[in-house]
């Protein structure tokens, strides 16, 4: 093998073996490993140390570089995901190029997964030998710097998106807030009171919604969806499709006179916002506090769209404001942003999938979200709990975990249902004085003031029964009452309780189109279909795509306090990124040796990042787009593509090192 360190004799390699307390040293004989490493040709210094990542550990490297004139450094410790950057920085501080460093993972790949000390130590030695052979061949590299567009796009206008958008806009960044529905507000706008403080959802949400609307740094696009994302961190090009609203937004003043003037005397179309519990007209506003305060026309219901023969009383009354435009068509906008926050929320579980609870079959079975609308003063019954059959319930059964913690539907806990069930029981009792029976599996109230709220509701006389309801069935005598049957696991008996109304505490699921959204933003989904964070503990709002962040329930079920906290975190992370003005990227990109390229284009179709183009029938790789995945390197039939930090001779040297006996 030729000498990689031309001009200065053989390389001078320093090896550091970390104890990581007992994490590594408990299984691997780190002292012996360091001693053996000292024997490997090229190694001029080998040490073991308790915590290499600590400040003294890093100082050690810095000092040794100077004192022993090291020109290559190896640290055998944990995963490079954790501390590669730490050690590269230490190496750089010692005056070396940081890419002349190699990390060996003897914790996650060795001590944590093996029990036999002798074998584990032997494995550590093989890995260290491989790194020594490899690091000799490393060449100095420079990190790439690319500028960042400071604007941020927030996708989803629920409480998560609203909070993130306001945080960024208040920091002076341009924000594009994209919402699919005619108004921002999301699920929170549908709720009545919020647990555990029982403050009114609208009262705390509406001010934030109007702030969004009024903020000079926020552009709100409702009835809009992201259709395409191009580009890369710092320079995303996002295309947004706008559905026609048939109203000129800037001309509409929100007087709502057109709704009164509509030729329909009353609504005929199920009102989406009230989950079909009321009817709306073809021209409508989703809810009184909607933002923007602009009406919308439903072309499927509007007579003008269906027949072209409407008197158009709406246009008459709108008069010279001229806000109604039946000719509107879909339109597109393309904007450049440096970062994207995905806050697309959740959908509630459809209890048709649990037929044993009779939803859809027995009219007095409701979902919890429907009950939120029923108890809401601006809801279909103005806050009076009137059931579909016109009566007021005297007894109510609440069933927890519908579509949660069940291998037949979703295995996970939806986290919010215990608390919102307690809240609904409190509100229902307050409004109807009904006897309320809550059936739960486990009562999960792990939040600030949550347990206290649970105690309060219990003291208010709500019957809490620990048992999963097996079935809801109608009384055979036809009086319309429903029998809830459950095993009361505290009393050790089967209970059959007849009630007038059943409330299903349906769980939270990923949005129906989460898979499409995932693909659009090039992010990943975890098991249940929720979007996956980069690290469950240490990178909870980042994704595996740089510059794309997550906020709210699209990442997993969560309540309002957690959603807002996460939205703030996502905004802060996005801000830290775009505010820096530029980013440094790993130099592990692929490059083409043009004389070997046959121009076959095998690589360009395979590149997941569209980083390869062809100039004069030769492949050219855009360094900024390249993520260093190595797909093209492996695929190139002529061996014309190489990759920094993963050169063929480096990898072969590593393999030889692993396989060598001693």
């Amino acid at each position: 093998m030729s000498d990689p360190h031309a001009g200065n004799g053989t390389p001078r390699i320093g090896v550091y073996v970390c104890h990581c307390g007992t994490n590594i040293a408990g299984t691997i004989d780190v002292v012996a490993a360091a001693e053996q490493a000292a024997e490997i040709p090229g190694v001029v210094l080998s040490r073991d140390y308790k915590y290499m990542c600590s400040d003294p550990g890093q100082e050690l490297i810095k000092d040794d570089i100077e004192e022993h004139r090291l020109d290559r450094v190896i640290v055998a410790s944990c995963s490079p995901c954790l501390h590669e950057e730490t050690f590269r920085n230490a190496v750089a501080a010692g005056g070396m190029n940081p890419y002349l460093f190699q990390m060996v993972n003897i914790r996650e790949h060795d001590s944590w997964v093996h029990r036999d000390p002798e074998a584990a130590t032997s494995k550590a030695m093989h890995l260290i030998r491989a790194a020594v052979r490899r690091v000799r061949l490393h060449t100095p590299l420079e990190a790439r710097r690319v500028p960042i567009n400071p604007a941020v796009m927030v996708v989803g206008g629920g409480i998560a998106g609203i909070h993130a958008a306001l945080t960024l806009a208040n920091a002076g960044k341009q924000v594009y807030l994209v919402e699919r529905e005619p108004s921002i507000g999301g699920h929170m706008a549908m709720f009545d009171k919020t647990f555990p403080t029982l403050d009114c959802a609208a009262c705390i949400l509406t001010p934030k919604m109007t702030q969004v609307r009024a903020h000079p740094n926020i552009k709100v696009w409702t009835m809009s969806e992201v259709t395409e994302v191009d580009g890369y961190v710092g320079s995303y090009e996002v295309t947004v499709r706008h559905e026609p609203r048939f109203i000129i937004e800037d001309a509409c003043v929100g007087c709502l006179e057109c709704i009164d003037a509509c030729v329909y005397r009353s609504g005929k179309t199920p009102d989406e916002f009230n989950l079909g519990l009321s009817k709306r007209k073809p021209i409508y506003i989703p809810f009184p506090q909607a933002v923007p305060q602009v009406v919308v026309i439903d072309p499927d219901a509007c007579i003008e769209f269906r027949t072209g023969k409407c008197k158009k009383t709406c246009v008459e009354v709108c008069a010279d404001r001229n806000a109604i435009d039946f000719q509107q068509t879909e339109s597109f906008d393309t904007v450049e942003v440096g970062a994207i926050i995905v806050a697309t929320g959740f959908k509630t579980f459809d209890p048709i999938r649990t037929p044993q609870y009779g939803y859809g079959r027995y009219s007095n079975v409701y979902t919890a979200l429907e009950v939120e609308r029923l108890v809401n003063a601006s809801g279909p019954t103005e806050g009076h709990v009137v059931m579909r059959d016109g009566s007021t319930p005297k007894s109510i059964g609440v069933i927890h975990c519908v579509g949660s913690r069940d291998r037949n539907t979703n295995r996970y806990c939806s986290r919010v249902c215990c608390m919102y069930s307690l809240k609904l029981s409190h509100l229902l009792q307050e409004k109807t004085d009904a006897e309320i029976y809550e059936f739960y599996i486990d009562m999960r109230t792990p939040g600030k003031d949550f347990e206290e709220f649970y105690n309060r509701v219990e003291e208010e006389g709500v019957h809490l029964i620990r048992g999963k309801v097996a079935q809801v069935r109608p009384e055979p005598n036809g009086d319309g009452r429903l029998i809830l049957q459950a095993e009361d696991t505290l009393a050790g008996m089967v209970r059959e309780i007849p009630v007038d109304m059943v409330v299903l505490a349906t769980g939270l699921e990923p949005q129906a189109d989460a898979e499409d959204v995932r693909r659009t933003f090039n992010i990943t989904c975890a098991g249940g279909g929720f979007f996956m964070e980069r690290h469950p503990k240490l990178a909870p709002v980042s994704t595996f795509t740089d510059g794309v962040f997550l906020a709210g329930a699209c990442q997993g079920p969560k309540d309002i306090p957690d959603t807002v906290a996460q939205a703030g975190a996502a905004a802060a992370e996005a801000l830290a990124l775009v505010d820096a003005g530029f980013i440094e990227l790993e130099p592990n990109t692929a490059y083409v040796s043009a004389e070997d390229c046959s121009g076959c284009k095998t690589c360009s179709d395979l590149c997941p990042f569209h980083a390869i183009s062809f100039v004069d029938a030769k492949a050219v790789i855009n360094e900024v787009l390249c993520k260093g995945c190595g797909t093209c390197v492996a695929a190139c039939p002529s061996g014309a593509i190489h990759q920094n930090l993963f050169e063929d001779d480096e990898i072969f040297a590593e393999i030889v090192g692993v396989l060598a006996d001693a």
């Binding site: 037929p355 044993q356 069935r473 055979p476």
Partner: protein, 302 residues
Amino acid sequence: MSDYSYYPGCSLKGTGRPYDESMQAVFAALGLGLDELDDWNCCGATAYMAIDEVQAVALAGRNLALAAATGNDVVAPCNACWLVLTKTQGKLGDDVALRDIVCGALGATCTAVNGDGPQPLRIDRDVAVRHPLDVLINDLGVDALGEAVTRPLDGLKVTPYYGCQIVRPLATFDDQADPQTMDRLLAAVGCEVVDNPYKTRCCGASQMMIMPDVGIDLVSLLIADAVARGAEAIAVACPLCQFNLEGYQRKALKEAGLEQSIPILYFTQLLGLALGLDPKRLGLHRSFVPVDSILGRRAAHV
């Protein structure tokens, strides 16, 4: 050549004869060929599997080996047989070591007699085990069934009772919590289907012999609820359910404080009546509980 192999199991040759008779008649009327397996044996029922799994799988597996040789799906109308054979097929498919043991045992000890003389038994393919509800819904379809009806059972109030074994633990062709296949078949022949919240409850099964008090309570619950909801008959798909609901009905009625009995009919018997088949061919004359109410109503429609 037949469309399906037929595994009757012991019940359909004994207490469940009306099921055997009515199903064969209905399948024939609908043009679905059935060919009874030659030399079939006991499925082992639920008991054997609990005692010795390997022997139980070998015993039930012999029937699958016979069916494998025919190249057809095998129809098992008894819910217990259906479950045992389905489970057995699953175990043989999943567990290669078990399959080797069972195939070895079958090849060494059993022979089937066919045209070429005795042959070693082999299980050389997966056999689809089918319940008649599954076949009628998924292979024939409710539209084809509806078209074949000559004497619709207009307005006859029937409540379907599925029992446990075709929905638990494996629900391969219907919803586990709210099965619908029988509901749909009965609706297709003109019945007014009465909602049955107890459609998958326990009929007492063999507890009727061991702990009659428990068994009678369970049957009483099923019957009283069906009567309260206005059903004129209970349709079943399992010979053990039928036996318990019919054979112990007098005691169950007494327990519930009721007097009027209610016919317990195999769903195939009701389909057969709607197809215009002779009640005798459908085994209706074998009922313990009088079925005159059903036959009388049918006559009124003729």
